[in-house]
Symmetry: C2
């Protein structure tokens, strides 16, 4: 049995399977893919995921490329502590929180973070490199997304809407975590893992809305997450300036 995880910094989607694998105690090979040097669009990685996106989990011939779906797969095929509620209603809540992250909080956070941190880094790169990099993006959707990022071509209204969504997400997370220890109740689940990397930077991006006075339960949950041995192990894969997020 071989398990390989292709990933970038653990603070993005790659953190989800990293944490899940450590929680389950699964032995795996970490394969670093340097997104900022376009390794994800080179033939070796495109042979793993033709879409050129990380993370990708390769397990005995099965390749999984969507981080949220990957979490359920990891929980289903490997022994170790269960990361999903034992009842269908609990699993429904877990999937709903994960979806909220993927469709609402995640894209908004990503837009703000890329506009604020990555786009200025890109501006330092030679134009020829960026042009070549864009040409190498394998799908039209991703090419368009990368072009927007590289050129910081986000519309002010888009950024404003993303800000609004971050603030709405903070309220929603705080309300839930004021009621329950973990996102879906008393059990730590994939919902916590999936939301952790999206929620952890909120106090940095929205210090007036997410702070110890206004959102004590959210901050306490972020701290408890960071103290889990599996999360510590996953975050140890951080390599660069994004580490502080």
């Amino acid at each position: 049995m071989t398990v390989e995880l292709y990933h970038f910094e653990p603070n993005a989607n790659g953190g989800k399977p990293l944490i899940a694998l450590f929680e389950k105690g699964v032995a795996f090979e970490s394969r670093w893919v340097d997104l900022l040097n376009w390794e994800q669009h080179q033939p070796p990685y495109l042979a793993i995921n033709p879409k050129g996106q990380v993370p990708a989990l390769v397990h005995d011939g099965t390749t999984i490329t969507e981080s949220t779906i990957m979490g359920e797969y990891i929980d289903e095929v490997f022994i170790g502590p269960s990361l999903r509620p034992g009842d269908a209603a609990g699993r429904e809540r877990m999937r709903r929180w994960s979806r909220f992250g993927d469709e609402f909080l995640g894209p908004s956070l990503s837009m703000i973070a890329w506009s604020q941190f990555i786009a200025p880094m890109m501006k330092q790169r030679p134009q020829a490199e960026l042009k070549k990099a864009l040409e190498g993006v394998p799908t039209a959707e991703r090419r368009s997304a990368w072009s927007k990022t590289i050129h910081n071509d986000f519309h002010p209204e888009e950024l404003e809407e993303s800000r609004r969504r971050l603030e709405a997400s903070i309220v929603r997370l705080e309300q839930q975590l004021a009621r329950t220890e973990w996102l879906v109740g008393t059990q730590y689940t994939l919902a916590d893992i999936n939301l952790f990397n999206m929620a952890a930077p909120l106090p940095i991006f929205c210090p007036l809305e997410a702070n110890i006075e206004r959102t004590p339960h959210l901050l306490s949950w972020i701290t408890r997450m960071r103290e889990r041995p599996a999360v510590v192990q996953a975050l140890a894969y951080s390599r660069d300036s994004l580490r502080t997020l």
Copy 2:
């Protein structure tokens, strides 16, 4: 045990739980919510789903409001034929196809369909009614989406990108269905149910790309889906001019 399903026409997301419930042989109460007369934004329905979206499944005190997540819940809690593969790799493929529908094909089809069919219907309505309807939309996201629809305020580039995605979806579906009988292999699953309502109108919207010569396997799968007793039962809930889709 009570099962109530709040839904609109079965050809949209409401079709997913309708088909799944009939496949499992679950007795349920159908609660029609007339989207085109704004019933989804009235207090009685907002008490069920504060977001004002259908479908919603209410089962013994548990309310589920995301149609894809609903499918897994229905398969988990009710007896009857299994609608999910028995192996984790199969369930991964099933979830990946469902996600493809929710994130790629579905939104594109929805934009084209609303622009082409619903927006012209809206144009016939009194301005005062439309203004009042918009004010009643409970969330900013949905208000923005309804405003775009009502005013047919879709950007030409958006519509063009949606068209491109429909055509890419046709190719992807045909390639898969040329290889396997159902979307994830030999077993009929929630992936087929989830994609059916999005794929069935493709020969109407894209007759040059989806037709018996170019996509015989896609058309054969649509026909086989339409012949299933559970699908026939679900489609019988159609009431209005959208029926032909």
